[in-house]
Homo-oligomer: 254 residues x 4
Amino acid sequence: MKPVCLVIGAGAGIGGHVGKRFAREGYHSVLCRRSDEQGLDRLVKEIEANDGSASGHLLDATQPNTIEDCVAAVEKDVGQIEVAVFNLGAQIGNRILENTSYKAFELGWRLATFGLFRLASSVGPLMVERGNGTILVTSATAAVRGNAGQHSHAAAMGGRRMLCQTLNAELAPKGVHVAHILIDGAVDAPDTLGKMLGAERFQKLREERGLEQDGLLLPEKVAETYLHVAQQHRSAWTHELDLRAFSDLPWWNH
Amino acid sequence: MKPVCLVIGAGAGIGGHVGKRFAREGYHSVLCRRSDEQGLDRLVKEIEANDGSASGHLLDATQPNTIEDCVAAVEKDVGQIEVAVFNLGAQIGNRILENTSYKAFELGWRLATFGLFRLASSVGPLMVERGNGTILVTSATAAVRGNAGQHSHAAAMGGRRMLCQTLNAELAPKGVHVAHILIDGAVDAPDTLGKMLGAERFQKLREERGLEQDGLLLPEKVAETYLHVAQQHRSAWTHELDLRAFSDLPWWNH
Amino acid sequence: MKPVCLVIGAGAGIGGHVGKRFAREGYHSVLCRRSDEQGLDRLVKEIEANDGSASGHLLDATQPNTIEDCVAAVEKDVGQIEVAVFNLGAQIGNRILENTSYKAFELGWRLATFGLFRLASSVGPLMVERGNGTILVTSATAAVRGNAGQHSHAAAMGGRRMLCQTLNAELAPKGVHVAHILIDGAVDAPDTLGKMLGAERFQKLREERGLEQDGLLLPEKVAETYLHVAQQHRSAWTHELDLRAFSDLPWWNH
Amino acid sequence: MKPVCLVIGAGAGIGGHVGKRFAREGYHSVLCRRSDEQGLDRLVKEIEANDGSASGHLLDATQPNTIEDCVAAVEKDVGQIEVAVFNLGAQIGNRILENTSYKAFELGWRLATFGLFRLASSVGPLMVERGNGTILVTSATAAVRGNAGQHSHAAAMGGRRMLCQTLNAELAPKGVHVAHILIDGAVDAPDTLGKMLGAERFQKLREERGLEQDGLLLPEKVAETYLHVAQQHRSAWTHELDLRAFSDLPWWNH
């Protein structure tokens, strides 16, 4: 039975490519996303066509028990989750205070912070019992600085980052590797950035940043680092690292 | 009519002393806390006995509309809120993952992160309209590092810190000063630290740290810095500062 | 005999105004700068004309024994140094790697990092012996992030910040307050920013940022916070804080 | 002709193992260290015995022109430096202020900060001209927090970290990858930690931390991450990451 890589938030960007990369490495990838069953099927078939193993689940992380049930079902029916990837974003664009509803503020937290807590509460104890496992958390610049209009997103991501530290403090000595991966730039992903910008502006950005197609973060290259972190020997674990395109400014530089 | 200093979370520690200090400076202090009406009355009377002006409100920040209604009532009946102090904590002691219920995790966020968002959403636009105002946010070490067992607290405080940055980014250019005040140590406060430790351990800690009674953060001294920050000229505002007793280790030193 | 406030780097900006502010508070200010004896005399006379007490020293911080001899002479002839302000900058403008000579790189360190170490080595033990004292260190954005072209400045300031932490870790428990004050913006100072930009561009910037004359950091307002930090009770000391004009972007926001 | 991996500071710890790992990957490793020619020869022979390619240089980084001449000689005689690893430490143990001589303080900077600047000044422009290259910088906890007694070390490492950021800001857009690798823990290295502690205490620490021999950072495992960072695609580069043993506390946790 193959070890399982569970991806919460597996679209056409980082999540999907991480699923593909781990499948290529011999994992069974369980790909979870909220909607677009067709896209999900396509992803699974693409993995299988490359002699990989995968399955897909539609999962609404705002609903009770969805993450918990998924973890339980995978452990029961598919195999032990060795790697859990939390890849849910909560970017809703810039909104001034008066346009940020309580509902939007809470939703950010529910997806980006509480969702990770639920995943960790479900899968963490299983990994502790086995004495190993990896939880890879995709994070965003908003986890380390709050820009104007980012009230919901930054509060949620700031909470996520501190939660990664408390999880690491508790789980690392028990053999479970928790990593906070700061994606500090725009990802070349049609169904997140692409949707936010619209098809035309997205294509324009790609062309502007183009530079031989690597001016945006390419998700298949990002996935290589996810794999490396999951494979680090426990005598030399990374808890926090950043990733950005060479041509992009780090968040701390003007 | 006196300018108002509204304190959300005004017990016998920092909140109460900030209320007293601002009253002494000529503000009318509106002191809000969840319970202990008697203690609240005592605080108001102590301020009045020193020729200050104050009033008290019982307010449960976990309930809808409480913060919002309080802000509206104060502005209508008492005066313009020039300084709003958000001083709600959410420390529940160290609990391992399996002992941290979803409810406890959410409550931390609801008090420590969402409560601030509600206050800022209520009072921020009023301050913007007037072109000035100050929002002082008490924060904790857990806002900058997550220790073992602090899942709920650190996630909530990490969110609070990033929220302070987004509020500052939006409000500062409009004349509203937002400050994140990191209380990096134990406060000599009977009804927070005292309750958490119990009377006996609290007294013991005070004696150990004693050193002429200043080995813990003395809330009346902390209040001096709150006042200073509120009085800073807008050409030289502080957004973030830390406070600890001289004899204590900063969070970054072992 | 008045307590002494020693200012290393007392020009027409922050250093000079800190000297004036402390003199007004009852300190004797010893003002040290590298050159412009006339300007120094003017500053001393201005303080004396306001019933304050001050004296001036020309001091080249790149030369051996200058800081050390000054501390010794002041302690012997003027009075006990209660507050030492280290206000030497090392900004040389942006230079690409190939245009940053080894000499320029070393000079940055010699002024901005080693200069502080020399001051702390000279005055720290005296303060420790007396069980109190304050060392206020002016710092710059380059202490927390390195921008393009800032090789010399950022390396020097990054070193300065870490040195402030090691000094604090050692001296604070012995009663000596060390504070790292991050000046995160342009200061309205004719002889540093003014010289760097040239008279015309400086005046233009002042007008652009003008907004009732507070769009740049006004050094006399900055000085109020230096005084406050020096007056904090030792149960509630600040080690690190930032200062910027309300209308300016913090370094972490784009 | 093989691409060259130049290691400044190649002892029996991280530097030597990085040299071995890159040699195994097809690089010619140029190993530089201050002394112990015998040890250096042994290292080169070990690499050659494994079908790798390497050469050794004795190099005193405190002396003028040593790093510069080495870079020039390697480029002329051995091959293009694709990866430059700066692995010089400057830890001298904890010393209080009065026991930290000016000489010791300067030496820390000269090795840990200026040494990197010299390497970057020598090799950076060559890499920029070729449009690619990698500079991997070993860093230490003291780069992000200053503990008591670490005056020289922390000031030097804080400068090093900021220098890495300025180098990255300038070189990354030109295709040169700069990474700051924070080694946040004790490395199982006989000739640095081993010498500092003495043979007996070193062995005792190894046994205490043992836990199947991975309670200290194992340098051969650390080397895997150096290799990964050097191999990252330029659309997804890491600038900063931390490494520690699973059983160790991160620097921010008490």
